[in-house]
Symmetry: C2
Subunit: 240 residues, 2 copies
């Protein structure tokens, strides 16, 4: 899995009405590491609002290729995924966004691929869908499924990134976890402190120590935290 | 898994600068079936731009609760997930968005939960992060990780919806798949037609029929398609 796969993905926006949406889509793509943008017959040229919405993705916006047809935008690709909010009668291969990007990323290992978005109002035409290999469906609420165009680009680009790079291990905190024996020494210290303070009655201990072990065990103590807790216990001990 | 879990999720936006972003966030939430919005000290009141960006989610926007503090917005919740683009030194439980929503949805079975977003410019403060139970990180491109606020809301709301509802089986097409014996009869018909036309040389068949079987097998023929293909073969036969 590699970020190089993302360079094989082009985002195609067909007949977009509002330049602001093109700018917002450019930003959404770039945050996910996808920078190749194709515009099929945008209804208005890129303008100041498009640039404002693109924010730090002006390079993606200005690098966009303007095409006269979807066929031109798909030239050279080996796989095109159409994004649709509606079920398509003729779609022969439909899946939700997460499932659909699997085939897209597999194809991206063999060549250029595209994710294709239609107009803000009506999406892709049936003629456009038939030029694609599969249809991706964002599982929106049936009562209100109207994602903004850039929001739909964000979801698909995000799914493509996660599929291309795999689960990214989140960088572990720098804090060292406590060693088993140090945690056990803390529990001994805690028990002694609670006996000294009278909160733990040796004749009737109930489930106090197991409950406290459960709490601290769940928290996953760090080395420094064990030191802090034992320092606290020492400070309480001074007053008993 | 149920959509009811989504009604236990509140989206909290802290100190948002631009009302348009609040509107766009309302739209993003609603498309994923989440309708409870809390605003902590928004810098400007909800205005016409917020309404324009909310589109069909004006109900979510106008139902938003305005709070004086994050503590007030989190009142009654049993779990709060902070969304952060930056690594947080004090965060004791960090995960990517997909991993982080698992604990959120588990907690939503037991009570109200929150997903908390900071300002457009600087995100959440450390003081705000410490009021949350865990930190979610959207795995953006390190070179440009600046998601628009509503785009971040869209990704987290999408992940929460997928986690709450599970993989939604995409409705299968209404088209009936072809039966094995009908597909085999088609292959016999195809071979006879190619022999008749001369394209298949019985003395030197090469791998023609296996290649065609592979192609049609991969396509997964439907019943009606077999009829169309056999009709085509019959029509060609008339001219040979």
């Amino acid at each position: 899995m590699s970020a190089d796969l993302l360079s094989h993905i082009r985002i195609v926006l067909s007949h977009t009405s509002h330049p602001g949406n093109i700018g917002a889509a450019a930003r959404a793509m770039k945050t996910m590491g996808i920078t190749s943008l194709y515009l099929v017959n945008p209804k208005k040229p890129i303008d100041a609002e498009a640039e404002a919405m693109a924010s730090g993705a002006a390079d993606v916006l200005h690098g966009a290729r303007i095409c006269a047809s979807l066929a031109e935008a798909l030239q050279g690709t080996v796989y095109a995924l159409a994004v649709s909010a509606r079920r398509r009668e003729l779609a022969y291969d439909s899946a939700d966004a997460r499932g659909a990007v699997q085939a897209l990323i597999a194809a991206a290992r063999q060549g250029e691929v595209a994710i294709v978005f239609g107009t803000e109002m009506s999406g892709l035409t049936n003629e456009e869908i038939l030029q694609c290999r599969a249809v991706a469906h964002i599982p929106a609420d049936p009562g209100y499924s109207s994602l903004n165009l850039a929001a739909a680009v964000q979801v698909l680009a995000y799914e493509a990134r996660v599929a291309a790079l795999g689960a990214q291990p989140f960088p572990a905190a720098d804090f060292a976890p406590a060693k088993h024996e140090d945690v056990e020494r803390f529990y001994v210290h805690l028990e002694q402190s609670l006996l000294a303070s009278g909160f733990l009655d040796p004749a009737n201990p109930k489930r106090l120590i197991p409950r406290l072990r459960r709490l601290f065990g769940r928290a996953g103590l760090e080395q420094e935290e064990v030191n802090i807790l034992r320092g606290m216990l020492n400070s309480f001990g001074k007053n008993t």
